[in-house]
């Protein structure tokens, strides 16, 4: 909870005084996507180590192993929910509009949790077999943060004909995180419910991620013990 607050202060200072962004209430704009992003990335990074971290137990007692990554997601969800409170306080302090669209935020949080669970399960089982997945994931998550609309928004991109810019736009369009973050930023910052296409893509990719992650995890779980 402290971590997102401190990060928010750093980013707000950077983007309001050092490199000013002409965005009204930038801290709210930022926090509305940064908090969900930090939930996702923290849960994934902690969760992928959870099988290795609990190997003493897994080697000696029969336990459904999916419990370990999922409990990490659960505890991060608690942190995420708690960190929404300062956001609402900040909204009140900066006189940001509270709209009925805010009732959509819990739906977004649930979908993001489903997505996060799938990714965490998948990476947790891979980490058992290949120990460097963790380092790879750290770098990839760092890259993903900049390749997802966290610090910026799709409508801030402008136009450019370069091939790399077109690639970047294409990537944003196929990146499920784009849609998942919109589920929370749209109601919080823009005071509107995200459009149906965004909700549909976010829902679809969340359930696909969970189904794939869970299937692969359950398939590989009996073999974990030989690699622990």
């Amino acid at each position: 909870m402290l971590n997102p607050l401190l990060l928010m202060i750093v980013y707000t200072v950077v983007f309001t005084t050092i490199m000013p962004v002409a965005q009204r209430n930038f801290s709210i704009f930022l926090l509305a996507a940064l908090l969900p992003w930090l939930f996702f990335s923290t849960a994934v990074l902690q969760g992928l180590n959870s099988i290795l971290g609990n190997q003493e137990l897994i080697r000696k007692v029969r336990v459904p192993q999916a419990v370990f990554p999922l409990s990490v997601v659960g505890s991060n969800l608690v942190n995420f929910t708690l960190s929404m409170l300062p956001l609402f306080l900040l909204m009140a302090a900066l006189k940001q509009r509270f709209s009925t669209a805010l009732f959509f935020v819990p739906v977004g949080m649930i979908l993001l949790t489903i997505f996060t669970s799938g990714v965490t399960l998948l990476l947790a089982t891979f980490t058992v077999f290949f120990r460097d997945v963790r380092h790879l994931a750290e770098v990839l998550l760092q890259m993903m943060m900049y390749l997802s609309p966290v610090l910026y928004d799709l409508n801030m991109l402008g136009a450019n004909k370069n091939w790399w810019f077109r690639f970047f736009q294409w990537f944003l369009a196929v990146n499920p995180i784009t849609y998942l973050l919109a589920l929370i930023r749209e109601p919080v910052y823009y005071a509107r419910v995200p459009d149906a296409a965004t909700i549909a893509i976010a829902t679809g990719s969340s359930f696909v991620a969970l189904a794939v992650g869970y299937k692969v995890f359950q398939r590989l779980a009996p073999r974990h013990i030989h690699y622990l």
């Binding site: 000696k60 007692v61 290949f130 013990i225």
Partner: protein, 256 residues
Amino acid sequence: MRNGEIRIRDAGVSYRLYRERVTTLKEAVVQRFRHLRSAEMFWALRNVSLTIPPGDAIAFVGHNGSGKSTLLKTIAGVLQPSEGEVLVQGRISPMIELGAGFDSELTGRDNIYLNGALLGFSRKQMEAKFDGIVAFAELGDFIDMPIKNYSSGMYARLGFAIAQDVEPEILIVDEVLAVGDERFQEKCKARIKDFRTSGVTFVFVSHAHAAVSELCARAAVLHHGRLAFDGHVEQAWERYRELERGPAPGPSAAAL
């Protein structure tokens, strides 16, 4: 199958012994270009068939590395057999190892709840059992101390105290009795005999002849992962001694 029954049919557990074990993605990619990784199969357990009816007491005897623990782990469901099948019906109270499922940072009190949760008991149910467990373990005020400060005897006491109070239908005890002091050992044996009369299946691993003969009428001898004998405990012990006098025991990797 009846509750408390264990049926093992032609079970085998194999480990892959990699000459160059791949543990990172980088190595896995690099190895592709060098040569295919060579794996040797090592059968820790093979062709083991046993039926343990409810209420039976059986001891597994064998040298170190004979596959006793592997067999116990498959019964407890920690390991999946690579071939054959292991069917177990009923609640297992597995004491595979000393303090299995304990978190050493937590206090004895918290570990009782943790262990209860692992065995499928809610906090409320464990609260009802709590005093009995503490009384059996005779840990007194130590119950509120982190168990990393416990002696191995205290560990064993707490472990056995939990296992004996969770209404097991199958009780697995692996060498844990050896750590407690004599009085506690007697108490455990008395408790195990209680279980025997109430029809709990009992699986025991020990190198102590006296304890085995006292608690079990039946014994199975494991030798290099194979079932060498299954029958009366004294005959099993004889067979075990006979096998020990043979070629030096120890795990050997047989290439497949």
